[in-house]
Every structure is written in structure tokens, then in C-alpha cells.
């Protein structure tokens, strides 16, 4: 039985190809001059450089965190290249026609056609390739609605007042080791501003691709939903199959003003490394949103990739009646390690948070939920519900739950539950007795286990996530 499951889990990583694109890549190494060069390449104003340098100085004083249940060799930050961009991007193509066809082909191969006619009508895409944004689609249509959706490097120049006000306002520069590093060296990412009372006319999406060897990807995303606005944002990521580990340290900040709503969905499929743990992405990500009065932020993530994941999308529920949600599916196999979860900080009155997580461990992987729910003294009538379920496939993996529950308000109610289970022999037998092969049976049972989370994803993503899980589980059954 376990043997079958393991077989079903051995999978091909379909996004593992390398694009043949001539790139301009910095020599490995990190010091102030590298940061100056990044800033120069981006044509940034002086204040931005200063901001980066101050973060860099903070970072130098900080220590790498060691509290997560992950184990990886020490990262040599001097062996990483901090900037890489296709040469063809240097002249800043004005339209899709001018973009290197190889780049367009890369995204097409990944199932993200960038030619607008071929695209899913309802989704605008910002495609980030290594350190630069290749193209952002449907911009005109979005501009009509007053929505700004552009690479953050562009926003720094065109909308400095917004960037200055909000960049680093949710995740402080020295919040943690990787966020400080990101502040110093981030290269690109997406910027979104939804004006007051506006419902974004389409789903926004950023697709991150690491291509170049030995580079780190440090993207930065900032989403501001002004009063009463609404936006749904999707994020996807892949990288080629390589024997070396690569670092991805992103920071995402969300600002939901009064009555605004941000729905942020991620399907993370970075290269996870091979069966023996060789290669793969180190995914060290800081994601946090702040909710003002009656605002809502909902994080949904499907994590199937990366060799090591360290990620806690969080909500600061500052305004009264604000709502935070976290829905997560994390699948680990081979030698993958995931330490992921959320923080819900209840500050305002009658704030509500919901946490639903589904961890699936297979192979020799380790999968941990780590979360914090904090009720501050002012959080009268606040409410949290947390449900963490783990599914173990095979007896060589680990599933762990580390919830921190802190309450300082007697009228707040916190409920936390965690369970663990396995794909039972009875379930497998029933499915097979009805004619299903073991692979199909496992993927069906696992999909059922994840259903509560999948139903939170936008339609297109739900399908993709289901498929991703199926691919992940292929050959893993016995």
C-alpha cells in the first residue's frame, strides 16, 4: 500500500526546463556597491537607494532565524548573483511585439500565454522573469477603471508618493532576516493600487519565473486597496530543474483600507529538488497584510514546490470588524521541508479570523504548520477558529503542528483544533473495488481532504491546483 503511494508520488516536474535567453547577470556577491548597481539598473530615485542601503545595514547586524523545523546548509550570500535580466529587456520593449519571442514561449510553455488574444479574458498578468518584469497585460483596460497594475520598479518612478507611503509600512525593514535582505536587493515584482470604491474589473496575476543559474530572486509586491475597493490577486511560480539550491526571498505587503477586500491566492510550484533532496528552491517569504476598519484579507495558498519553505502569510486586524482568513494546502514529498502557517493579530474590536490548513506529507518530507493567534487587550468580541489537519502518506515522513495561542481579552474566543490521519487501507480498498487505479484513488482521497481550501481558490486556479496535486501524486501509490 505504502509502496503504491510512494510510486504515485514520484513525479515529473513539468516546469523544469531552461529557457535559452541571453542574460545580463551580476557577478555573485553582495555589498553596498551591488545594491547601488541594482538601483542604477532600475533607474531609481535617490530615496529608494537610501532606503535599500539602510535595510542592508540592518541586515548585516541580524542573524539567520533557526526556529523553524527545517534543515539546510548555511547559505553563502556572497555566492549568489543578485541581478539577472534578459539582454533583450534592456531596451525596454514598448509592446509585446518587441519582447523576445523566447520569453513569450517560456510563459506559453508554462501555460501562461501573454498574447492578450490567447489569454483567459478575466486575468491580467505581470510576468516576472528573474529580476525584471517582462510584460504586464491588459494595462489599458485596467487604467480605464483607475487601477494601477505595473512592475514595482515602474511604480517607484511613476507613483513615488504611494510607494513611499506604503513600502515597508506592513513589513518593517528589519522585521526579519530575509525581509531585510529583500529590502536591500529586491529587483522587481508587482504594484497594485485599487482606487476608492472600485471593484477591480479582472483578476490580477503575477507569474514569477526563475531561469538563470546561481541567482536569487527577490521580488517585492505591494497591493493597496483603497476604501471600499475589491481585488483578487493570483500568484504563480516555477523554476528550472537544477542541482544547486537557489534562494527566493520575497516580501509581499497588502494594505486593505476601510471596507476594502483583498483576496490573495498563491500556487507555489518552485522546483522542489529531486528524490534525494538535491537542488530546489529555498523559499523564504514574508507576506503580511493590514486590515483597517471592516476590511478583509484572505490568503489562500497551495504549496507543492520548493525544497525548503518558510512562509507565514499574516493579517494584522487593526480596524474594528476586520476579517482575516488563511487557507492553505501544503504538500511535501521526497525530501521537501515546509514550515508554513500564519499569524492573526487581533487588535480591533469584533475582528474575526479563520485558519484552515491541510498538510500532506509523503516520502521523506517534513511538513509543519506554525501559527500564531493573538488577541490583544482591545480586541473585544474577537473570534478565531483554526483547524489544522495533517495527512501522512507512508511512514518515513513527518507532520507537525505548532500553534501559538495568546489571549489577553476575556471576551475574545479562540478555538484551535488539529488532527492527523492517513489514507486508510479501507478507503483505498473501496476505491479500487469500484475500479479506480491506486493513483487515481489516492489523488481523489487527497483532493477530498483539501476540498475546503480548494473551494477558496478562484476557478482557474482551483483547477490548476487540483491538477498540480494530481501530478504531484502520480506514481505515489502502493
Amino acid at each position: 500500500m505504502t509502496e503504491q503511494i510512494d510510486k504515485a508520488l514520484a513525479r515529473e516536474y513539468e516546469a523544469g526546463f531552461v529557457s535559452d535567453v541571453e542574460s545580463e547577470t551580476f557577478e555573485p556577491g553582495l555589498d553596498e556597491s551591488v545594491i547601488q548597481r541594482i538601483s542604477e539598473m532600475k533607474g531609481e530615485p535617490e530615496w529608494m537607494l537610501e532606503w535599500r542601503l539602510s535595510a542592508f545595514r540592518e541586515w548585516l547586524e541580524m542573524e539567520e532565524p533557526d526556529w523553524a523545523l527545517v534543515d539546510y546548509p548555511k547559505i553563502d550570500f556572497q555566492a549568489i548573483s543578485y541581478y539577472s535580466a534578459p539582454k533583450s529587456m534592456k531596451d525596454k520593449p514598448k509592446s509585446l511585439d518587441e519582447v523576445d519571442p523566447e520569453l513569450l514561449r517560456t510563459y506559453e510553455k508554462l501555460g501562461i500565454p501573454l498574447i492578450e488574444q490567447q489569454m483567459l479574458a478575466g486575468i491580467a498578468v505581470d510576468a516576472v522573469f528573474d529580476s525584471v518584469s517582462v510584460v504586464t497585460t491588459f494595462r489599458d483596460k485596467l487604467e480605464e477603471a483607475g487601477v494601477i497594475f505595473c512592475p514595482i520598479s515602474e511604480a517607484i518612478k511613476k507613483h513615488p508618493e504611494l510607494v513611499k507611503k506604503y513600502l515597508g509600512s506592513v513589513v518593517a525593514k528589519k522585521d526579519n532576516y530575509y525581509s531585510a535582505l529583500n529590502c536591500a536587493v529586491f529587483t522587481d515584482g508587482s504594484f497594485v493600487y485599487i482606487p476608492k470604491g472600485t471593484r477591480c474589473p479582472m483578476e490580477l496575476s503575477t507569474y514569477f519565473r526563475i531561469n538563470e543559474q546561481n541567482t536569487g530572486q527577490f521580488e517585492r509586491t505591494l497591493i493597496i486597496a483603497d476604501e471600499g475597493s475589491h481585488v483578487s490577486y493570483l500568484e504563480g511560480c516555477t523554476a528550472p530543474q537544477r542541482d544547486e539550491n537557489q534562494l527566493h526571498a520575497a516580501v509581499v505587503e497588502l494594505v486593505a483600507m476601510d471596507n476594502a477586500e483583498i483576496k490573495y491566492s498563491t500556487v507555489q510550484n518552485w522546483y522542489p529538488g529531486d528524490e534525494n533532496g538535491k537542488g530546489g528552491i529555498y523559499n523564504f517569504v514574508t507576506k503580511r497584510g493590514i486590515c483597517h476598519t471592516s476590511a478583509k484579507i484572505s490568503w489562500t495558498q497551495v504549496e507543492t514546490g520548493s525544497a525548503v519553505t518558510w512562509k507565514y502569510p499574516s493579517c494584522i486586524l487593526k480596524g474594528d470588524n476586520s476579517v482575516g482568513e488563511f487557507y492553505s494546502v501544503a504538500l511535501t514529498r521526497g525530501r521537501q521541508q515546509a514550515d508554513t502557517g500564519t499569524k492573526m493579530i487581533h487588535i480591533g474590536k469584533n475582528t474575526k479570523s479563520t485558519i484552515i490548513t491541510k498538510g500532506i506529507s509523503a516520502g521523506k518530507s517534513n511538513n509543519s504548520y506554525r501559527g500564531l493567534v493573538r488577541m490583544n487587550p482591545g480586541a473585544d468580541g474577537a473570534r478565531n477558529f483554526t483547524q489544522c489537519d495533517s495527512l501522512l502518506i507512508g511512514d518515513q515522513c513527518g507532520a507537525h503542528t505548532f500553534p501559538y495561542v495568546e489571549s489577553r481579552n476575556p471576551s475574545a474566543i479562540i478555538e484551535h483544533e488539529a488532527t492527523t490521519s492517513k489514507v486508510s487501507d479501507e478507503q483505498m480498498f473501496l476505491c479500487r473495488q469500484r475500479g479506480l487505479d491506486p493513483e487515481k484513488a489516492v489523488s481523489m482521497i487527497v483532493n477530498g481532504f483539501c476540498k475546503e481550501v480548494f473551494k477558496e481558490l478562484p476557478m482557474e486556479f482551483a483547477v490548476e491546483a487540483g491538477k498540480l496535486l494530481e501530478i504531484s501524486l502520480e506514481g505515489s501509490v502502493g
Binding site: 500500500m1 486508510s424 487501507d425 479501507e426 478507503q427 483505498m428 480498498f429 473501496l430 476505491c431 479500487r432 473495488q433 469500484r434 475500479g435 479506480l436 487505479d437 491506486p438 487515481k440 481523489m444 482521497i445 483532493n447 477530498g448 481532504f449 483539501c450 476540498k451 475546503e452
Partner: protein, 261 residues
């Protein structure tokens, strides 16, 4: 009828669970369209037979041969046996949280159609069939959307098994103590469902402890299973005999056993 080819042939079957032999030399021939009841005391090996035939892990065949439609059953995986037309209605139906009944049924039907080289049924057509089946077994349509057996009552689970049978249209149905835990009304619904499926090319093995079910599903043959083999066979009247006598006489006739051996 006796000239027809056997659908199922069991020859001198010996099988074990956790190294303990449970089936000890069982012989049985079933022709298309026949209904065979297997009765016997607890621990006789009634449920084990269903698990061995359907290929459940942990149930080991020690010796003997079984063919279904002339094919060696033991060369097939569990799902291949199902696709070859073998259906087991579980005594204790399994819950699969989050997987809807409809999704599960569609996947099963698709897998079996595919194995037969047929095209997948369209979702709309399938839904129509599933709704009809639901109605036939007296389950609310809403049950199609619910997780497989999740939170179903005992009777609902049994009816859900029957619904699966209606949709999968197997050649051989093994009903494993389908009557256990059912009240008389539920029993009738289940029996009617089974009877509606009786046809010249579908056979049944009805495993039961009590004669009660056989008042509703009239068997062509009744076999008494004791200590892993069939010790007595007869027609439907044997069931009534058993009802009157109980199973105690089985233990009292060791001599006969020895003679047979």
C-alpha cells in the same frame, strides 16, 4: 441452465488472514443469472470470502483457483477485478471525507467504461443516471453532493452501496451482510433494489447470517459455510431449515466432516 458456462468457479480455495487459515477448501460454481445465498455462523469465513474474491490487501490465497468469466481472478489487481464485473457491497461502507459521492461514482464508472473501451459518459448524462439511481434506492438527491458515506446512517450507507451497484452494473454482486443494521423498511428498499437488478446475465452472492433477507431476495441456492468450507447446499428451503435449527448442529456433526475429508 445447467449447460451454461459458469460465471464464477471457485475450486478448492484456501485463504488466510494474518497467517490464520479462514477459508479451507471451498468449492462453488455460479452460473449467469443465479442467486446464491451463503449462510453460516459468525467466524465461518463469510466476509472473508468476499474480501478474498475482491482482492483486499492482507487476505492471502494459499491454494485453489477462482475464475470469473473464464479469467483467472488471482492474476488481477483489485481494480481490474472490479472492471471485470465484480462488485462487493461492503458490510461496513467506508467514509471518504471531502470526496463527493457524485465525483466518486463518476470516477468509478469512467474507470470501468475506459477499461471496456467505451467513451466516458458526459457529466449531464451521468447526473441524470445518478439521480435516477438515488431515487430508486430512496436516498435524497442531496446525498450525491455529500462526502462518500460521510455522516450517513447505517441504512443510508447500505443504500449508497446499492446505488453504486445500480450505476456500475456488475456481472457478479457480492452482498456482504447487507441486511445487518437495517430495519425492516430499509431492508425492503435494499431487497427491491437488488431484485430490480436480477437478470439473466447478472449473478449474486448474498452473504447473510439471517434468513430474513432471503424472504425478500429469493435465492436459487443456499449454502452453509462452516469453518471455511461449504458443508451443506440446497434450495431456498434450506434457509428456513437453518432459521428453525440455528447453527448449533454444525458443531455436533464432526463425524460427517471427517467422512467428507
Amino acid at each position: 441452465m445447467s449447460n451454461a458456462k459458469n460465471l464464477l468457479t471457485i475450486k478448492d480455495l484456501h485463504a488466510s488472514v494474518e497467517e490464520k487459515q479462514i477459508i479451507k477448501g471451498l468449492n462453488l460454481d455460479i452460473k449467469p443469472g443465479e442467486v446464491h445465498a451463503i449462510m453460516g455462523p459468525n467466524g465461518a469465513g463469510k466476509s472473508t470470502l468476499g474480501y478474498v474474491l475482491s482482492g483486499r490487501d492482507g487476505y492471502t490465497v494459499d491454494s485453489g483457483a477462482v475464475t470469473l468469466d473464464g479469467k483467472n481472478l488471482f492474476e488481477m489487481e483489485t481494480e481490474e477485478r472490479a472492471r471485470a464485473g465484480l462488485f462487493l457491497a461492503f458490510q461496513y461502507p467506508v467514509e471518504i471525507p471531502g470526496v463527493s459521492n457524485l465525483e466518486f461514482l463518476k470516477a468509478s464508472v469512467d474507470a470501468q467504461r475506459e477499461a471496456r473501451g467505451e467513451d466516458a459518459i458526459t457529466s449531464a448524462d451521468f447526473l441524470k443516471e445518478a439521480k435516477a439511481a438515488c431515487k430508486q434506492v430512496n436516498l435524497p438527491i442531496a446525498f450525491l453532493k455529500r462526502g462518500v458515506n460521510e455522516g450517513f446512517s447505517g441504512g443510508e450507507k447500505k443504500r449508497n452501496e446499492l446505488m453504486q451497484m445500480l450505476l456500475l452494473k456488475p456481472k457478479l454482486c457480492i452482498l456482504d451482510e447487507t441486511d445487518s443494521g437495517l430495519d425492516i423498511d430499509a431492508l425492503q428498499v435494499v431487497a427491491e433494489g437488488v431484485n430490480s437488478q436480477r437478470s439473466a446475465d447478472r449473478s449474486f452472492i448474498v452473504v447473510t447470517h439471517y434468513q430474513r433477507l432471503l424472504d425478500y431476495i429469493k435465492p436459487d441456492f443456499v449454502h452453509v459455510l462452516s469453518d471455511g468450507k461449504i458443508v451443506k447446499s440446497g434450495d431456498a428451503s434450506l434457509a428456513h431449515e437453518l432459521e428453525a435449527q440455528g447453527y448449533a448442529w454444525l458443531q455436533k456433526e464432526p463425524a460427517e466432516d471427517e467422512l467428507e475429508g
